[in-house]
Amino acid sequence: MNDRGYQQEVGSSTAVADLRAMPAYQLQYEVERLMRAYCECIDEDQLERWPSFFVEDGRYQIITHSNTVRGLPANALSCDSAAMMRDRVVSLRHANIYGAQSYRHIVSNIDVKHVDGSNVSAQSHYIVVRTMAREGEPLLFSAGKTLDTLVMTADGLKFRERRVISDNDRIHTLIVLPI
């Protein structure tokens, strides 16, 4: 398996491997490699590939810490299929109007939590620095953690679920790109 494995458009969502058989250090490596490729895809403006990091019925959500502590379900973004993610990308590319911008993800504390057959749960911490092209200044846009469920497919690890829980509940101007 090489990094290309994460760049194929739509892969099989069929689980292919029992991850319990994989040594912990190798699983850690695979998870980190997925996270790295995922961030690179968004940070390098290859948004069309973003949905392909998920299985077809994968789920993606951004919620705020303050809503979760209140037990409230509101989200800033939520997609319950890769198709819905592709729709969002088409909308961002062709419909929505927003200032040209880019993210730089810094991800750390990647912690493989729990392996259950072909699924693995993982947590990471992130900060996202956003640069609006007109202003040219990188500013902290969001910080928080991700709670992920990953699954090993024929195309490598993919997200079955990614929950982004942001510490900030203030969003400056608008939120365009996924985290």
């Binding site: 209140r70 989200n75 939520s78 909308s91 509940d169 203030r170 101007t173 365009v176």
Partner: protein, 420 residues
């Protein structure tokens, strides 16, 4: 009310060009002296400002802290269930008394010197008031009743809590302040108990009145927000219109789902790309009517700081918090009904993708506010030109007009004393 009797403000003199509300001098968006005057004449003036939903403080001893204009306040429900509001500033040395956004307490104790207040804002206790062993302490004539928090008047309509700094004889009772059309729409939307779904907070780097204009502007809907057009769901020919209250400070935009295709009107629009794209997962737009009147879009803007929204099944109160002349925060509070099924709640949560600061059909509004604010930094006496639908702030039976914006400025000019 009484606005005709206001003196022209000496600290922020402003000539309103030709006394025409369709031409708005850009200085009203950028001058700190005007922002100061707005605090006095609008937010602390004869108006009811939205502060909270009763559903946010449903039980005795619940509270919520927020702002009216830039003044920090707290809205409380006392142990008997009655609502109160007060300025969040200790009567002793001015510290913030309540430091949490939401919570539950019987007593509010300032951390600095532990002066304690009850839910109504009355002073309950002062530590070492009698001194220690006969030494120190407050003067003998210290009157606990004279040192409470600054209390505001509170009124609630259909579970929306409004507060005012104004005495009873300076502002109408809340239902009259809102007017019949706004009350009828609130009766319609808040027809049964609601369930909170959560908040989003959006900071816009622009003056709060630019957003007030945006929410009274039917014209931009199909031009700035291109989601529907791009996916062949064009809406400009939707039926709809705008009404205002007698003072024209509030605005109610509505549209129905019924479409009257008008291909000629659409010709030449860069935004019209019917059929070019289609949604792979149309469940995003799936919904069920909440109301049987066919109204699918409501933007109810209540002066000075509230917007109530129904877009399909997305129900929201948007609370405007002006932070400075050049910045505002918008708190989006999403809700459904207490009797929503799990499926219905799922529909509302999915439709959150369409609205709010990341919403596919509305994300552009923050950008629009900032694009204006950035461009009007100088030339404060230059003006905008607001004439779509005629130059008057009259009710309109279409969605290509700017009439409620003119109505807003007409009221604003009087309320601020800018007779020009």
């Amino acid at each position: 009310m009484n606005s005709q009797m206001l003196d022209p403000p000496a600290e922020a003199p402003l000539q309103w060009p030709q006394r025409e509300e369709m031409r708005v001098p850009y200085r009203v968006f950028t001058d700190p002296a005007i922002f100061e005057l707005e605090q006095q004449r609008l937010f602390r003036g004869p108006h009811w400002s939205y502060a909270a939903l009763e559903a946010e403080i449903p039980e005795p001893n619940d509270f919520k802290s927020t702002h009216i204009g830039d003044t920090p306040i707290v809205v409380t429900r006392d142990k008997d269930g009655a609502l109160h509001a007060w300025v969040n500033r200790c009567a002793h040395r001015g510290a913030l008394v309540c430091r949490d956004r939401l919570g539950k307490t019987e007593q509010f104790t300032c951390v600095y010197h532990q002066w304690a207040y009850n839910a109504s804002g009355s002073l309950a206790s002062v530590p070492f008031r009698r001194g220690v062993a006969g030494q120190g302490g407050m003067p003998a004539d210290f009157d606990m009743h004279a040192h409470g928090l600054t209390k505001l008047r509170v009124a609630s309509y259909r579970g929306l809590i409004f507060v005012t700094f104004a005495a009873e004889d300076r502002v109408e009772p809340l239902p009259q302040y809102l007017g019949a059309d706004a009350c009828a729409m609130l009766d319609r939307i808040f027809n049964r108990p609601i369930r909170l779904l959560g908040d989003e907070r959006q900071v816009m780097h622009g003056n709060w009145k630019l957003y007030s204009e945006n929410t009274r502007d039917a014209y931009h809907g199909s031009l700035l927000h291109l989601f529907h057009a791009t996916f062949g769901l064009y809406r400009a020919s939707q039926k709809g219109g705008s009404v205002m209250d007698a003072t024209r400070r509030h605005s109610l935009l509505t549209a129905t789902k019924e479409e009257s295709q008008d291909q000629q009107a659409l010709a030449g629009l860069r935004t019209y790309q019917s059929g070019q794209f289609s949604l792979e997962d149309p469940s995003l737009l799936a919904g069920r009517p909440d109301f049987n009147d066919g109204i699918s879009l409501v933007i109810l803007a209540i002066f000075p700081n509230l917007i109530v929204q129904q877009i399909a099944n997305s129900l929201v109160v948007r609370h405007m918090l002006p932070r400075s002349v050049g910045e505002m925060e918008l708190v989006w509070t999403y809700f459904g009904y207490a009797d929503d099924s799990e499926e219905m709640e799922g529909i509302r949560l999915k439709q959150m993708n369409l609205v709010g600061p990341g919403g596919l059909i509305s994300m552009e509004d923050g950008e629009a506010v900032e694009l204006v604010h950035e461009a009007i930094v100088r030339d404060g006496d230059k003006t905008s030109y607001i004439a779509m639908g005629g130059k008057k702030g009259e009710p309109q039976n279409n969605l290509v007009n700017e009439a409620p914006i003119i109505g807003f400025w007409n009221y604003y000019r009087k309320a601020m004393g800018f007779t020009g």
